[in-house]
């Protein structure tokens, strides 16, 4: 679908339209419209490596031409391109034109929401939202946790002082409301 035609959950007419994203001591920003590309299945890692992408170990992140390369499994990769859309478009174009083994698209740009959690109360909020110990001493920058967040299956990635969260796009409003409730609790305690 061409850019500009898609309706995202928080857009007018979207399923989460009207849900307010928290902006206080815990802030949640919606990056769902940002470009990303998921590849999965046999051949995906070999194809990426053949195109110059140095893959990180599982549950780690690498950077390639401004894109983040999240390795979610042996043959499960997610490339995010917040500030590198042309590089991602080139790679996707090459992948589409490929006729030999290349894995398959996991449609992460449509199936997953992408949100960024930040703010001064980030750590106490995370402690309420996720059972894992995500303090900086235990969970470093560019580490990935595939776990449950706000009761929803999610991929968490620490990016410095913020967390990127990827989860089922249909849970967008639910997660936003859960984080808003936690933000209110953190602000009052």
């Amino acid at each position: 679908m061409a850019p500009g035609i898609r309706t995202f959950p928080f857009d007018h007419g979207g399923a989460a339209n009207g849900t307010v994203l928290p902006t206080g001591s815990v802030a949640l920003a919606d990056l769902t419209a940002q470009p990303r590309f998921g590849l999965k299945g046999p051949g995906s890692s070999a194809w990426l490596e053949a195109h110059g992408v140095a893959l990180p170990p599982v549950n780690r992140v690498a950077v390639h031409q401004g894109m983040r390369v999240l390795r979610l499994g042996g043959e499960d990769m997610l490339l995010t391109a917040e500030n590198a859309a042309p590089a991602l478009a080139d790679l996707q174009g090459a992948w589409t034109a490929e006729t030999s083994a290349k894995g398959y698209s996991s449609w992460r740009e449509e199936g997953w929401a992408w949100m960024r959690l930040s703010g001064p109360a980030l750590q106490p909020a995370l402690a309420r939202l996720c059972a894992l110990d995500l303090r900086p001493t235990r969970f470093a920058t560019d580490e990935i946790a595939q776990t449950r967040f706000a009761g929803v299956e999610a991929v968490l990635l620490r990016t410095g002082h913020a967390f990127d969260v990827f989860f089922d796009v249909t849970a967008s409003a639910f997660v936003a409301r859960a984080v808003a409730a936690v933000e209110k609790h953190c602000a009052n305690s």
Partner: protein
Amino acid sequence: MKLLTCPMNGPRNIDEFQSFGPVRDLIDPDATPDADWSRSLFRAENRRGVVVEWWRHVPSNYFFLAERDIVSNVVLRTYAPPARDGKP
């Protein structure tokens, strides 16, 4: 909180996992007597002792094996499944 250690993701809350039952031998339905085939399809082993089971870590969709003592419900170890057809 009961924990299970995923070979790929580490120790996690048991809520993050789904059990797929014990590993069973594949039998040939053409070469197996009807009674044995019926037993294989419809009856659980349910023997005391240590069983090897398939488990799935749901958020990462990772399947692995666990050795569990079904009397004490203690998981003895978890490990990645062996490679099939030379592929991971």
